[in-house]
Symmetry: C2
Subunit: 220 residues, 2 copies
DNA sequence: CAATTATTCAATTAAACTATTGAATAATTG
DNA sequence: CAATTATTCAATAGTTTAATTGAATAATTG
C-alpha cells in the first residue's frame, strides 16, 4: 500500500466519522444518549424534530457506528456505541467552551438569568462527598436516574420538586446534577432551591462525566 | 432566553465547529499542526493539495477558531489555537481506532507490511526512560525536532538514517517516535533498524501526546 | 386476520461543501 | 519602483447534506 493511499484511508475514515457528528441535532442526540438508551420517539420529542427526521439522523449515526440498537417488540432503543464516543463529545464540548465565546456567553447568561451562577466541578464534588458535606440531588427524569446514578443521590425529577424536597435539612449545602453542562434541569432546580432558602449549587459536568471516570454507579 | 433558543445556540455552535473539522484534509492539517507551526506552502506539500486549496481549508479552520496565525514577512505561520483542539483530535483518533475496523486494519497491515509490528505505549516508554533502558530516537523532520522534543531524544530525520545511526550501541533497545499513530516515519525507521540488527520498536502515540500530558519538553 | 403503532424508507427541493482555476493582495528583493 | 513570491480571494461546477412529506415495514393488539 502506498503512503498516500494509507493516509487517504485513515483520514478519510475519520472524516466520515466526524461528518456524522457534524450536525446540531445529532450532537444533541449524542449528548442525550450519553444518559442511557432511548427510543426514537423519546429522542424526537426531546430534541424537537419530527420522528422521521430523528430516525434519519439516527440512521446516520448508526451507519457511522456511533450508536447501536437494541430491539424490543417494535421499539428500537438506541445507545452510544462505546465510551470513546462520549469522550469525543466531551472533548468537543470542552473545546467549544474554551474557544467559542458565544457558547460560553450563552451558558453564563442563561445561568445568571436563572439566578444559578457558577457551578462546582466534579473534583470539588468528590471531595465534598468524601467529607459527607453535601446533599446530592439527581434532577434528571426518573427513568435516567433508574438507569444509573451517583451513589447516595436523591432522585428529584423535573416537576416534582415540591413534593420531593419536603423535609430536606435546610442547614446543609445542596448540590444538583443533571445531564451535563448544557442541561438546564440543574439550573432550574438550583434557582428553586435558592428561592426556598437553601444553599445550593449545580455540578458543572453531568452524570456521564462521573461514569466515564470509572467512579461507582448505582443502577436500578 | 428560551430553552430551545439556548440549545440552538449551543449545539449550533458546536455543530459549526465540528463541521470545520469534518474533512479529511483538514483533519490531516490538524494532525500536522499538532507538531508546531507551519506555513501554507509546507502544509500544502505535506497533505498533497494545491496551495490555493490548502489556504481555503486553513481559512475554514481559522474561521472556526481552531487555528491561529503568526505573520512574519509574507509568510503566514499557522498553529493549533490551543491544547483543547489537539484533545479533540486525540479523541477522534481514539474513536476511529476503536470503532472503525477499516482504520484499525489499515494501520495494522501497513505496519506489518513494513515489518514494524506492535508498538509500545507512552506509559511503557515513561517507565523505560526512568530506568534508563532505551535509546530514544525522534524520527520527525529536523525542524519539528527543533520546535520541541522529548528530553534525551536523538534527532534522526527521515533520509538521514545512514549517517546518524553510526556508533549506536547495538545491545540496547531502540525506540523511535514521530508525529502520532498515523505517522509512518517511525515504522520506516524501525524497519531499517531491525534490518541492521537492532532491537527496535515504535511508540504508538506521538510527540504531541507526550506534550499534552504535561511531560517535560526541550525546545531548540 | 384487521387495525394500530413505532419506526424506517423514498422522493423532493433547497442549501452547503469541495476542488479548480485564474486573478488579486501585499511583503520582499533587485 | 518593477519584479518576484507567499498567500488569499472570487467564481464556477459537481457533489453532498438537510428537512419535509407521505408511503412502506413490521411488531403488537383486539
Amino acid at each position: 500500500m502506498e503512503k498516500r493511499e494509507f493516509k487517504h484511508e485513515v483520514y478519510g475514515g475519520i472524516g466520515q466519522l466526524t461528518k456524522a457528528l457534524a450536525n446540531p441535532h445529532r450532537l444533541e442526540i449524542i449528548d442525550l444518549l450519553a444518559q442511557g438508551e432511548k427510543m426514537v420517539e423519546a429522542i424526537a420529542t426531546e430534541i424537537d424534530v419530527s420522528i422521521a427526521n430523528a430516525s434519519q439522523h439516527l440512521q446516520v449515526l448508526k451507519q457511522a457506528r456511533l450508536v447501536t440498537i437494541r430491539k424490543q417488540g417494535h421499539y428500537m432503543f438506541y445507545t452510544l456505541a462505546n465510551a470513546d464516543v462520549f469522550a469525543v463529545w466531551q472533548a468537543l464540548r470542552g473545546l467549544s467552551i474554551s474557544q467559542l465565546p458565544d457558547v460560553e456567553k450563552v451558558i453564563r447568561d442563561y445561568r445568571t438569568g436563572q439566578g444559578a451562577l457558577k457551578g462546582i466541578s466534579l473534583n470539588v464534588l468528590i471531595g465534598k462527598l468524601e467529607r459527607d458535606e453535601v446533599i446530592l440531588l439527581d434532577v434528571r427524569p426518573a427513568e435516567e436516574y433508574r438507569m444509573g446514578h451517583i451513589p447516595n443521590a436523591l432522585s428529584v425529577p423535573p416537576g416534582e420538586w415540591g413534593q420531593k424536597l419536603e423535609g430536606l435539612p435546610t442547614g446543609e449545602e445542596v448540590i444538583a446534577y443533571c445531564r451535563g453542562p448544557f442541561c438546564v434541569f440543574a439550573d432550574e432546580a438550583v434557582a428553586y432551591l435558592k428561592s426556598k432558602g437553601y444553599r445550593a449549587a449545580r455540578l458543572d459536568e453531568g452524570f456521564p462525566d462521573w461514569k466515564i471516570r470509572g467512579l461507582p454507579v448505582i443502577c436500578g
